[in-house]
């Protein structure tokens, strides 16, 4: 089955890498490049950025010439957003509100990202994880975090 080039993985991956390569070359330009014999901090990143542009470009061109590629699968927007938010939430809450709050929020948000969200079950999972992680990591392994907000 032929797929339009713009719907293939290889094309967009190629485009993504061209963008990433270009961006990194733009940033690394400002570091001292040096010479081949005495490589400066910028030499390697610029080299890598160029390589990325080449490889990405080649992937785009090749897909275009072949006219076919692997189709991109379905995207689960809710799941990926909620997983990202829940992990970011952990980072935000851990030192401001303590381990208990962070674990609870992370677990609950993660459940929200799932296909069959059930409120009661999610609350139970979150609560159970708070207890378990507190026991294991703080008391068992001596992780240095405060369970509640700092100073509690």
């Amino acid at each position: 089955m032929r797929h339009p080039v713009l719907a293939t993985q290889e094309f967009w991956a190629g485009a993504l890498f061209v963008a990433l390569g270009g961006a990194s070359m733009a940033v690394a330009r400002h570091y001292d490049i040096g010479t081949t014999m005495r490589m400066g901090p910028g030499y390697f990143p610029v080299l890598l950025g160029a390589a990325l542009i080449l490889l990405g470009g080649a992937s785009c061109v090749r897909t275009w010439l072949a006219g076919d590629g692997t189709p991109i699968g379905p995207v689960q927007v809710r799941s990926v957003l909620l997983v990202t938010i829940s992990a970011a939430g952990f980072a935000l809450l851990l030192e401001t509100a303590g381990l208990a709050a962070a674990v609870f929020a992370t677990a609950f948000l993660a459940c929200l990202g799932g296909r069959n969200f059930r409120l009661g079950e999610s609350l139970a999972i979150a609560a159970a994880l708070v207890v378990f992680t507190t026991l294991l990591f703080v008391y068992g392994l001596g992780l240095s975090v405060s369970i509640g907000p700092p100073g509690w």
């Binding site: 014999m37 890598l48 980072a91 296909r115 975090v145």
Partner: protein, 505 residues
Amino acid sequence: MLHSIAMGFGVALTPTNFLYCFIGAFLGTLVGVLPGIGPITTIAMLLPITFKLSPVASLIMLSGIYYGAHHAGSTTAIMLNMPGEPSSVVICLDGHPMARQGRAGPALCISAIGSFVAGCIGVIIIAFFAPPLAELGLKFGAPEYTAVVILALAAVSALTQRSLLTTLATAVFGILLGTVGTDVNSGVTRFDFGFPQLYENLNLVGLAVAFFAFAEIASRAGMAETRRILDKVKGLFPTRADLRDSWKAILRGTALGGAFGILPGTGPLISAYAAYTVEKRLAADPSRFGKGAIEGVAGPESANNAAALTHFIPMLTLGIPAGPAQALMIAALTIQGISPGPDMMDKHPELFWGVIASMWIGNMMLLVLNLPLIGIWIRLLRIPYRLMYPAILVFCCIGVYSVNNEVFDVALAAGFGFVGYVFSKLGCSPAPLIIGFILGPILEVNLRRALLLSGGDFSIFVTRPISLGFLLLAAAVLVFLSLPAFRRTQRLPGADLAVDEAAED
């Protein structure tokens, strides 16, 4: 040599190390059976715990998780047509039909026996090959290291299911991520965007967790739970005919896996596919395959496990990870103050030989864990994913945090998790990225030094014999494995069954 092996067993058989070997094998079996979590995520989550353990115990446990998972992945492949590990995909092809014919027992048993034999031989291969390779490694100068890293990156990129260009680019991106932080040579901070937390290199555990765990959870959480029909296992023992048919497949598989596993890359997965293809080509009646041919289980399973063990050789002898799991283990050792390399055999013989001895012990434990306890593992498969993944997510966050006590690392991991999801949708496999990340700094340091030595002349890489050898091998791997003939055999029916080929290996 015999003396070293004896010493190794002495180390491995201390109560502590024996216990951690068991814990590793047990956890490995557990995550190998459970889909949705694999050895890499587990190792990443447990890394903080290893800080409290001795280096030997840490490595014994972590390696146990790795090869334990590879043993166990075939259980679900046979019983449920669902591989617990991507490298067990091929086992589904003939293993599950056997289960449906009521022959799950013999399939599981042959699979366990094959794994055990492969494991034993794999350990012997390591014991014999590692010391000479380490000796060779001691002679390495900067050009040789550069060349061997290039070989590793070429192998990782070529020995993969995806588009070669995409995979190479992913590896290069990984190397680029490795440049974030302070450049050792000049003291300049690169790609820090003003964040002081980025003056150090990116947190490897964070990256591993982001690309393997977070991205995987984001994909699976939204998917419907597959209905599973569990078969009861009766009659564990294979018939004489089974044994007679399998033993050659087991040996062939072990040879293939042992060889492929040494090269960095997805050794176990490719070995399993290769073994299946070989068995099918050599069979008197190839039409039996896909319908329950026991060679189709014995060969790939042995290959898978032999490769899982020889995968440790580059790490133990040269300090180069053959896969992301080994990269994490190297990180664990580095944090403990041990830098793996050719001199590890001399400087830390108890670590080197202790780990090798424990692999053999672990192999025996896995025989017990996999067969008699099969009922327990099957029952565990009933746990729905929606109950597991919040826990995995939380443990991963805590794991990432505890490396540097930095919430910034967790936030960064969250962001990279999103990137990882995009990557997986675009067919970019995470393993090359992680390997590129770890090998990048080694590549840069040695490239710099080599060019300094040669006065900017690139011919130094081809005038020195060892370096030239590695580069030729890299070219051969890239050319040979990108040939359409090889790539076409990779599109086996089993590829559709893979949960996510790009994930854990």
